[in-house]
């Protein structure tokens, strides 16, 4: 509903205000007069008409209001199909690269996810005032800089879609790092994108990736402590969700998808296999590295290579990486060194990882590993 209102009014704040008013009127009238035949359309119509009235009132007060033509009141007699689904336009506006990334994330969760400013602030561990400020800044820039409300032209679409998917995946990873409600929200956003852009393999790839990773959520922590994949209780995996993840991956493959999210989803699917096909995982990480040039991907490949060729081969890759500030590098190094019985070096590596780690459950995991050496 909000997406359609923003499309109609060209203004995020007016749209939110109008939607709130419409809900308030519904709360008052529906119990008294009964629920209308098309509740969604009724709310749309009411919100639009309220917004138009408000713009007219402000016009009279202030001739300089920068609204365009004031639209006519919409007909009262409408059904749901009268209002176009403009969520796709909305997400491309919210994830426009001219907005700061934190603003993109906040705006997407606020307008598409329907989260309150307070909920978003809590999820990202920032004060509510800070989050409100982020939202205000992003909305002001959309208006002042003329960021369009539309799906980008074909030649811009690959880059812009990548920006949208990056925002969704960022939200998911925040959730995966401990705030589960964000992971669920990211999956919902991804699935909405699948409906809106069914021919884009990377969209299906991202949804597959999120579903496959999230399906193992319950097994990933035991009493608040981190459990690595080989030690996870497979009984705790959500098989239905793994199935949905694999189905999304199949959709991506059927569209000839071979982009970064599709490859990551393929890796996640193999991780959930029994037995785990490490040579294939190592090869896919190689493919992903060619696509992304990311040293973090190389680190993951090193772990897979260690499973295939032994810890020394993995360690050689790890030691070639320039990732000193990344605690996973030191944790992976420590693990490989301990498999090689190089205990003193392993200890030093765990100590370095502990200096860098933030999340409590990861810290406890590293401390247990260090103590067990």
């Amino acid at each position: 509903m909000l997406a359609s209102l923003i499309g109609f009014l060209g203004d995020f704040d007016r749209a939110e205000e109008a939607a709130q008013e419409a809900f308030a009127i519904a709360a008052e009238r529906w119990p008294r007069d009964g629920v209308p035949d098309s509740p969604g359309a009724w709310l749309q119509t009411t919100a639009r008409n309220r917004a138009i009235d408000r713009i007219r009132r402000e016009r009279t007060l202030d001739a300089k209001t920068r609204q365009l033509e004031v639209p006519e009141h919409v007909e009262e007699d409408v059904d749901e199909s009268t209002f176009p689904d403009e969520r796709l336009e909305l997400i491309f506006t919210c994830c426009h690269p001219a907005l700061a990334l934190d603003g993109q994330v906040a705006l997407t969760l606020r307008t598409l996810g329907g989260l309150t400013t307070e909920e978003i602030a809590r999820a990202f561990l920032v004060p509510e005032a800070t989050m409100a400020q982020r939202l205000v800044r992003a909305k002001q820039k959309i208006r002042a800089a003329g960021i369009p409300f539309r799906v980008p032209a074909d030649h811009l679409l690959p880059d812009r879609l990548a920006a949208v998917l990056a925002v969704v995946y960022l939200v998911f990873n925040e959730g995966y790092a401990g705030r589960g409600e964000l992971a669920a929200e990211a999956i919902r956003l991804g699935q909405a994108l699948e409906t809106l852009m069914p021919d884009e393999p990377e969209v299906h790839g991202l949804v597959a990736l999120m579903l496959l990773v999230d399906a193992r959520r319950e097994a990933r922590l035991r009493d608040g402590d981190l459990v690595l994949l080989p030690d996870q209780d497979r009984e705790l995996w959500d098989d239905a969700q793994l199935g949905r993840g694999r189905a999304a991956l199949e959709r991506a493959f059927a569209l000839q998808g071979r982009g970064p999210y599709v490859v990551q989803a393929a890796i996640a699917a193999l991780h959930a296999g029994e037995p785990i096909d490490w040579p294939q995982i190592a090869a896919l990480y190689g493919e992903l590295h060619r696509l992304t040039r990311s040293p973090v991907v190389e680190l993951n490949r090193a772990v897979a290579v260690a499973e295939v060729e032994g810890p020394l081969a993995g360690l050689e890759i790890v030691d070639s990486l320039d990732l000193d500030g990344y605690h996973y590098l030191h944790a992976a190094r420590a693990e490989l060194l301990s498999r090689l019985n190089r205990v003193a070096e392993a200890r030093a590596a765990y100590a370095r990882a502990l200096e860098l780690v933030h999340a409590d459950h990861e810290r406890r995991f590293l401390e247990r590993k260090l103590a067990a050496l």
């Binding site: 426009h96 001219a98 002042a144 800089a145 003329g146 960021i147 369009p148 980008p152 032209a153 811009l156």
Partner: protein, 112 residues
């Protein structure tokens, strides 16, 4: 909407270009100048010719050089009438300075 495309160029390497390469780049600027929607634009003389003026307590302070010393300097601008930011960003990406170590700052023009 109207946008100012402020061209911050990085001239290192310019002198090592051949005459043909330089005139090809001038040709690109000329083509952009002639594009639909361009309503103005100028190339500025080098920042070594700039003078900065400030007034403090009623007194005019004049100093040599641009306001901020950076490797990139404001080398010119275009004024562009466009439907939205995307059109302005696309045009900005076509400006040679953007790929030659410089940057284009795209700013909406305030219309009173």
């Amino acid at each position: 909407m109207k946008y100012a495309l402020l061209i911050y160029s990085n001239d290192t390497g310019w002198d090592s270009l051949s005459e043909d390469e330089q005139s090809a780049i001038y040709g690109e600027y000329a083509a952009i100048s002639g594009s639909a929607g361009i309503i103005g634009g100028q190339e500025l003389a080098g920042s070594e010719t700039a003078t900065t003026v400030r007034v403090q307590d009623g007194k005019t302070l004049t100093t040599d050089g641009p306001f901020a010393e950076t490797k990139e300097s404001l080398g010119g601008f275009f004024l562009f009438e466009a439907d939205d930011l995307d059109a302005a960003l696309e045009l900005a990406a076509r400006i040679p300075a953007a790929r030659r170590g410089g940057a284009i700052e795209v700013r909406p023009v305030v219309e009173h």
